[in-house]
Amino acid sequence: MTKELRRISILVLVMFLALFGSVSWIQVVQADALAQNDANRRTRLDSYEIQRGSILAGDTPIATSTPSGDMYSFQRVYTDPQMWSAVTGYYNPALGSATGIEKAMNGELSGTGGSNFLSSIERIVSGQPQKGANVRLSLDPVAQKAAYDALQGLQGAVVAIEPKTGRILAMVSTPGYDTNSLAVHDSQAANATYDGLVADPNKPLSNRAIGGNMNPPGSTFKLVVAAAALDSGKFTMQSTFPNPASFTLPGTSTAVHNSWGGPCPAGDGQTVSLADAIRFSCNVPMAELAVQLGDEAIRTSAEKFGFDKAFSLPLESTASTYPKSLSADKTGLTGFGQGDVRATPLQMAMVSAGIANNGLVMSPRMVDQVLGDDLSVLKQIGNTEYGQAMNSDQAAAITAAMQASVSSGAAQGARIDGVDVAGKTGTAENGDTDPYTLWFTGFAPASNPEIAVAVVVEDGGGQGQSGSGDAIASPIAKKVMEAVLKK
């Protein structure tokens, strides 16, 4: 029996070794992979117990986590939700969803990001509960409120950028939505609210500032065309163009008109300068210029300003587009921002910011710092240059034209007492009978710019085809710039 018993002992040993192996495999080797598995409720429940960090705009908290008595441990609370909805998005553990900055900075806010590592160690050692890090945005509550109040009743967006750094000072998209209503832990109620918002024809969930259905930039695109002209070396702001009341696009029978029907109200009656074409926002000379430049040149310039590129703000913007391989007539249309060009207000603000910053375009960003619990700085976000769109002389030349536009040209709605504002309006057509899209882009003060703004108002501002960019979009930009400059 002994021999057999010895073998049975070995059998038992082997069985238990298999168990040692399988348990080790699961608890050590596969532990991380299993923790990441979507169906693993334990990981999620653990994450609920960590107090999510706050989102700050400057020094103002706009999203905080307050203790709640339910299984999610904390309730997300948003201040001024309609005003900040495009920026913060919402975070709902009951639905397992997050949008906006809540999603983009989720690693830091939830305490699982890399920048949290050292503070986690500190907390384990000191025995304090785990907390997420706070995120300080570059957004300025003063600018944000001015933009939001000015956009009331309209469907549109405002983006304001600090030209020297690329920091976004305001991002408003209206209509906004109540993020608190989507953050409730009752998933049925939250889903019902969400379905309602999705079905809403005004599309409150769409962030018009950085994406959504993009609009043709209209006359604001003339700035890019001018930049392309200067960059080609073949033109200056004083170069002249024929000044008829209409211009037939090459190879077609389509005629381009100025928006008031007649010729450009400047020059010697036969020709008009590029500077005046900008100042009075004349379509005909710009169409002629565009045809002469060719789509390649315009696109190159546009891309230097950020067209055809999606940015991580960290929100993901939709790339504004200037199409490839355009025929001459289509190129002519883009000369005044119609045709197949599409832009977001973010992009047009970058155009202004680039011009304002002596031609150097900075990469736009929304986050300034990641802060620990005691407001110690865990991570400082620096400025990144996107590229030189033009040299400073060219920028100065275009700036002068923009100043003229505001002081005595087509953008007088943006005039501010005692401040030199540079700007460009736009009134874009969307189809034969559709309402216009109204634009403004500009910066102030012209000599040492502190803020660059772009405003887009969709749906004609409620006035169908009788509103204009200057009447509706310019005053909004003026209020935003005033609020920041007069702080």
């Binding site: 029996m1 002994t2 021999k3 057999e4 018993l5 049975i8 002992s9 059998l11 038992v12 040993l13 069985m15 238990f16 298999a18 168990l19 040692f20 399988s22 348990v23 080790s24 495999w25 699961i26 608890q27 050590v28 596969q30 532990a31 299993l34 923790a35 598995n37 169906a39 693993n40 409720r41 334990r42 990981t43 429940l45």
Partner: protein
């Protein structure tokens, strides 16, 4: 002692005392019981600590009630220890402490799950488990006291076999049956009971007795084929009967685990008794064929295999493999050191306090804790196998081997099932899992092992002429 004994002459007396002294030395003083005392104390302290940690971790405070009850049970266990000092002073010192420690840690974890589920009173499995433990230890005490000589069981071989079969069939008797996944439960006055657990012991006695009676004819020469001596057909008969019984259990009672367990127990005991590897081969092949055939037309077997292989398939994770995957998530959540008693989430896994007690423990005490638990089981099984080596009568050896190997096999099937080494079955983890019948049966095995180990050690190795 010999001072007043009638002396033949001085030399003989001196030789007698010398022999007696030698005998006493061979027998040894009560070191076994002393050793057991300290081990038992250690086990009780560790189990009590586990209970306290569970309270601190899950409740944040200490509830004296549970500790008092735990203290009462500790007294009961020490009572068994004292009884052993009197009636079985040479019993193995490891068996009782290990059983106590495992049962105690099991209760701590079941209690933790009760806290998480807000279960109180008779809904709380831990309260029931405490009661079952009291009954089990009392049963072990009774067995140790009343069964002075385990060889008595040899006389009741066939009666035991009958009892074992009857217990297996009980759930089919109308009026007694309680519902469950496997048809293995009966209900006595509202309390669920699994008679199959007890039948394990009776069948082990039966197999041991039967094999001792027939080992000669079973080992006798048969035809040689492929280098192995194959038994003759008439010896094959009883084996086939057992095989059929096991299959019947699997098919009729939907209890894959018990079927495999009983068959495994028999084959191992057969091998140890006869020493013929041919039996093992026949056994293994028989089980494989049986399970393969059965899985063709039994959906629950197919489901078990499917869940085993495709456990993390998202379609299955919703319901079929939900329990298995949640258990595995729990284990992974614990990692190397565990989350700490009372601080994990074992209650997410369904039936966490019985079928998945190992994953619940693994989540909270980590890989290191599980290794300790598995080592405890290994030592327990090895003590039983030791009796097999050291014993001198075949019945005791076979019985001890059978019973302890069954525990080892049961642990392997259970832990292997929840860690996907093999498909999951419905067996319970001995001592740890919540379940009265399992606890009673396993503590009866403890009593049996104590009794047999004592009997084995008392047989002096020196034959005095």
């Amino acid at each position: 002692m010999t001072a007043t004994a009638p002396a033949h002459n001085a030399g003989d007396v001196a030789a007698d005392t010398a022999v007696l002294r030698a005998l006493r030395r061979i027998r040894g003083p009560q070191t076994q019981r002393n050793r057991e005392f300290w081990l038992l104390l250690f086990a009780v302290v560790v189990a009590g600590t586990a209970l306290t940690l569970v309270q601190l971790g899950a409740l944040g405070r200490i509830d004296p009630m549970i500790l008092l009850i735990g203290g009462g049970l500790a007294v009961l266990v020490f009572a068994l220890h004292i009884v052993l000092r009197f009636v079985a002073s040479d019993a193995d010192p490891f068996v009782l402490p290990i059983a106590t420690l495992l049962t105690g840690v099991g209760i701590a974890e079941i209690y933790r799950i009760d806290i998480a589920n807000h279960a109180t009173g008779w809904n709380a499995s831990s309260n029931k488990q405490l009661m079952w433990m009291a009954i089990s230890v009392a049963g072990a005490i009774a067995l140790v006291i009343f069964l002075r000589n385990y060889r008595v069981l040899y006389k009741y071989t066939y009666l035991s076999g009958l009892a074992g079969l009857v217990l297996l069939i009980l759930p089919f008797i109308p009026g007694l049956k309680a519902d469950a996944n496997a048809d293995v439960w009966i209900s006595i006055g509202g309390l669920g009971f699994q008679p199959g657990e007890l039948s394990k012991i009776f069948l082990a006695i039966f197999f041991a007795g039967y094999l001792v009676r027939t080992r000669e004819s079973l080992s006798s020469v048969g035809k040689r084929f492929a280098g192995i001596t194959w038994p003759r057909m008439r010896e094959l008969g009883p084996v086939i009967v057992v095989w059929l019984i096991s299959l019947a259990i699997i098919v009729a009672q939907h209890d894959l685990g018990t079927g495999v367990l009983i068959f495994g127990m028999f084959i191992v005991m057969l091998y140890v008794a006869t020493g013929k590897t041919s039996w093992v081969l026949i056994g293994v092949v028989g089980v494989v064929i049986g399970v393969a055939v059965v899985s063709q037309f039994l959906t629950y077997v197919q489901n078990r295999f499917n869940t085993w292989i495709n456990a993390f398939d998202p379609d299955l994770m919703e319901d079929q493999s939900y329990q298995l995957t949640q258990g595995i998530f729990g284990l992974a959540h614990g990692g190397l050191l565990g989350t700490g008693l009372g601080q994990g989430r074992p209650q997410i896994t369904p039936v966490a306090e019985s079928d998945f007690i190992i994953t619940s423990l693994g989540e909270e005490i980590g890989l290191i804790g599980l290794f300790a638990v598995l080592c405890l089981y290994m030592v327990f099984v090895s003590r039983g196998l030791r009796i097999g080596v050291a014993g001198q009568d075949d019945f005791g050896k076979l019985l001890a081997v059978g019973v302890s190997f069954t525990i080892g096999l049961q642990v392997f099937i259970m832990v292997g099932g929840v860690t996907r080494v093999i498909p999951l079955t419905g067996l319970t983890t001995p001592f740890l899992a919540a379940g009265g019948s399992s606890l009673i049966a396993n503590w009866l095995i403890v009593g049996l092992l104590l009794r047999i180990s004592d009997g084995v050690r008392r047989q002096p190795r020196v034959v005095i002429g």
